[in-house]
């Protein structure tokens, strides 16, 4: 049932999309989109609702199959093997955590090691919980509904990391949290990312969050890439009015909060 873990640990764990187009019945979600994530870096997909950013992210774990274009994972087409085998090697955190409500925290976190047939999934889960700052001794036996929102997202993050994937996909992982909790969990994630060196694709509508967590930002609008670059690039050389507006709005929000 579970394939042995044949990881190619030395290959560059880069993600790449080339010429990806996705059509739904009534609209085009992605139009000829290309992007790369270099090994060990974080790229943020930024855009508003309907921009196609979540669809793009879901192409990478084959939750969405593009109508055109190629998705590669470490240089290999994602369609090379069964979807389940790909997904077990890619961490994933959705907006609401997606924890299995009928499983205790430890079992939730041990899910992917269990699917991979690792010898001791629980040990992997204990280690992952430690990483996100939730000691298994205290939290392992709780059910998800017995946790706070921030704790649930940390558990979801631990679950995504438990099998030590080289790539993780985060879909608005902090979007449903209150501001203080969000800052806290963002901080925890930023520290982790640096220490683990995991390649990350992050979807967010919050430019400030993208700036804080990502090495590079890709702005999507109506299914097309508007601009890509560092925050400085976007600020100093916006290529479109939309990007300029996005940047100035984020700056205005920050200024409003800045001490006078």
């Amino acid at each position: 049932m579970i394939a042995p873990r044949t990881s190619t640990a030395h290959a560059p764990a880069a993600l790449a999309a080339r010429g990806v187009t996705c059509r739904y019945a009534d609209h085009v979600a992605l139009r000829n989109v290309s992007l790369e994530v270099a090994a060990g870096t974080t790229v943020a997909l930024v855009g508003e609702s309907g921009s196609g950013k979540t669809t793009m992210l879901r192409c990478f774990n084959r939750m969405v199959t593009p109508d055109e274009g190629v998705i590669t994972f470490a240089g290999v087409d994602v369609r090379a093997d069964r979807a389940e085998l790909l997904r077990r090697r890619v961490g994933y955190v959705p907006q609401h955590g997606g924890l299995l409500p009928h499983w205790r925290v430890l079992r939730n976190v041990a899910l992917v090691p269990m699917l991979l047939g690792e010898p001791s999934p629980d040990d992997a889960a204990v280690a992952a919980l430690e990483l996100v700052g939730l000691p298994a001794a205290t939290f392992g036996h709780r059910f998800p509904h017995e946790l706070s929102g921030g704790q649930r997202q940390r558990v979801a993050l631990a679950r995504a990391l438990a099998a030590r994937p080289r790539v993780i996909l985060l879909d608005e992982p902090f979007g449903a949290l209150d501001a203080i909790t969000r800052a806290e969990v963002q901080g925890a994630f930023a520290a982790l990312r640096t220490s683990l060196g995991v390649t990350t694709l992050l979807v967010t509508h919050d430019l400030a969050e993208a700036a804080r967590l990502a090495d590079e930002i890709v702005v999507l609008r109506a299914g097309q890439v508007e601009q890509r670059g560092t925050l400085a690039d976007l600020q100093q050389r916006p290529t479109t009015d939309y990007v300029a507006m996005l940047v100035s709005r984020a700056a205005a929000a920050a200024a409003a909060l800045a001490p006078r």
């Binding site: 959705p94 997606g98 924890l99 009928h102």
Partner: protein
């Protein structure tokens, strides 16, 4: 899980087995199958059925009793397809309700000609054989209380028609629907009551005595007519055909078992109306068990050796024991009926779960099909059980098989509905994450979706179980036994103790089954919702 299901199946099989051998022949008898002796659900039919059965047994012919079959259509439908072998029927009913022949004046005047025509047409069309009549008629007796008759000067049906605009009728559903019933009275006599209440046979006399209705349809040999001191109105225009009672025999037995025809023929011409009224009265008014009355009657006719035992209740006296005493006396029978009831419920429910849960899951993957199919299953719920059972006779005959299929059909809907909506609505975020993290479809189903849908699935199963316990009482109408047997018989024999001796255990069983399933539900409930 699988283990316990298999055990349940074995248990169900084990529970059916004893019944199958209940009426088996004693060793040493001929190894032909038992003769299935049936009746319709009213007192006199039960009595004649029992007399046929005891007579055959006394001549070494094994019988299987299936009294109380739904009504004319069910009984005759089963007979002509050899699902039952013999039951008592009436020539007028055969003529009008079975053959749908019209009643001419010359026929109406001569019972002999009615019998000749009915027996000839039955043989030609169905291969069904009418034995020579038993010797008495049991015609419809349109009856009023003595006070009503005196007050309105009622003697004939013509008198009744004159006053009918002021009167409320309480007629059995059978009578309201038959061509030789209400419709004919309206046509021939112009009888149009102010209102017509459909009443069960068991309650119509009480309704008349209490003044709730003014006129009822009775049977001329009914024991109740005398008990309530009623006046039977004269059929002055000879509207009702002659209703001579006779044994009708299924095609296969009529062809192959002359011995059976010979034994049953011993009763031909031996019973007159006075005798029948007295026998019916012993059953319906005095509460003497049918088996006792039947045995006594056969002995009085010299058809049974005087020392022979009618049945194990032959010692019962004419005094009516209380409900508790009655139930205690019948405890063995009631326990067997309860086990059988439970077996019917368990087998049909088990089969329904096996089909409905996978069907609900399949429909969740083909949602455009789901609502139409579930709605179609819902429509089955609206088919009256009797009608559903009647539809099945051509395919499955009478007995356990059609009852199981009917119960199974009724149980599907709540389980499919619960499974479908349960799985459809199971925490979409969790199901999506499970997929995105690499669970296969099968793992998602078994480890996530089914556990999360456990509550609505179990709710569907519990609903189906309670419905099935209730509906299974109707299995008695098709000879499948169970707690419906004393209910149907009690209604037919106007014996409320007998009705309650079936109805109370059935109600207790419904509560018990629901309680047991509630415990099972706690076991399968996802862990986070157990508290």
């Amino acid at each position: 899980m699988m283990m316990s299901l298999r055990r349940a199946a074995l248990l169900a099989v084990a529970l059916f087995a004893p019944r199958a051998t209940l009426h088996a022949q004693p060793a040493g008898m001929r190894s032909t199958r038992p003769i299935v002796v049936a009746s319709k659900p009213f007192g006199e039919s039960y009595l004649l059925c029992e007399m046929f059965a005891q007579l055959l047994e006394s001549r070494g012919i094994a019988v299987d009793r299936r009294p109380g079959l739904g009504a004319t259509e069910l009984a005759f439908g089963a007979l002509r397809r050899d699902a039952i072998d013999v039951y008592p029927e009436y020539t007028g009913t055969g003529l009008v309700a079975v053959l749908h022949d019209t009643l001419t004046d010359s026929l109406a005047a001569d019972p002999r000609r009615v019998f000749d025509q009915v027996s000839r047409h039955s043989a030609e069309r169905f291969g069904v054989h009418w034995l020579p009549p038993l010797g008495f008629q049991n015609t419809y007796a349109i009856a009023v209380t003595r006070q009503t008759a005196a007050r309105l000067h009622l003697r004939t049906l013509s008198d009744l028609a004159r006053e009918s605009a002021h009167l409320t009728a309480g007629f059995t559903a059978d009578f309201i629907g038959r061509p030789d019933g209400l419709a004919g009275l309206r046509r021939v006599y112009g009888l149009v009551p102010r209102a017509v209440r459909p009443l069960a046979p068991a309650v119509k006399y009480q309704a008349l005595a209490s003044g709730a209705v003014d006129v009822v349809d009775g049977y001329s040999t009914d024991g109740m007519l005398a008990r309530y001191d009623l006046v039977t109105l004269v059929d002055d225009r000879h509207f009702f055909p002659p209703y001579e009672a006779a044994a009708v025999v299924a095609p296969a037995i009529a062809r192959t078992r002359p011995d059976v025809l010979g034994v049953l023929g011993l009763l031909s011409g031996r019973l007159d109306e006075v005798t029948m009224r007295a026998l019916n009265r012993r059953i319906e008014v005095d509460g003497v068990p049918v088996a006792t009355v039947a045995a006594d009657a056969l002995r009085a006719l010299g058809l049974m050796p005087t020392g022979s035992r009618g049945s194990d209740v032959a010692s019962a006296t004419a005094s009516r024991p209380s409900l508790l005493a009655y139930a205690w006396g019948e405890r063995r029978t009631l326990a067997a009926l309860t086990m059988r009831h439970l077996a019917l419920v368990a087998a049909s429910l088990f089969a329904a779960i096996l089909v409905a849960v996978p069907l609900g899951l399949a429909l969740e993957r083909r949602r455009p099909l789901a609502e139409p199919i579930i709605r179609a299953l819902g429509v089955i719920q609206t088919v009256p059980s009797i009608a559903l059972l009647a539809f099945m006779i051509p395919v499955l005959g009478v007995g356990v098989a059609p009852a199981l299929v009917a119960l199974w059909l009724y149980a599907l809907f709540p389980i499919v509905r619960g499974t479908y909506s349960g799985v459809r609505d199971a925490d979409p975020d969790a199901v999506e994450a499970a997929e995105a993290l690499g669970m296969t479809a099968r793992q998602r189903l078994l480890m996530v979706r089914l556990p999360l849908a456990a509550a609505p699935i179990m709710a569907g199963i519990r609903t189906a179980a309670v419905i099935t316990v209730g509906t299974a009482t109707l299995a008695a109408f098709i000879g499948a036994g169970g707690l419906g047997e004393p209910i149907v018989a009690g209604l037919a024999l106007a014996d409320s103790r007998m009705v309650l001796s079936g109805a109370l255990p059935a109600a207790a069983l419904a509560l018990l089954v629901d309680g047991v399933l509630a415990l099972a539900e706690r076991r399968v409930m996802p862990a986070h919702r157990r508290h």
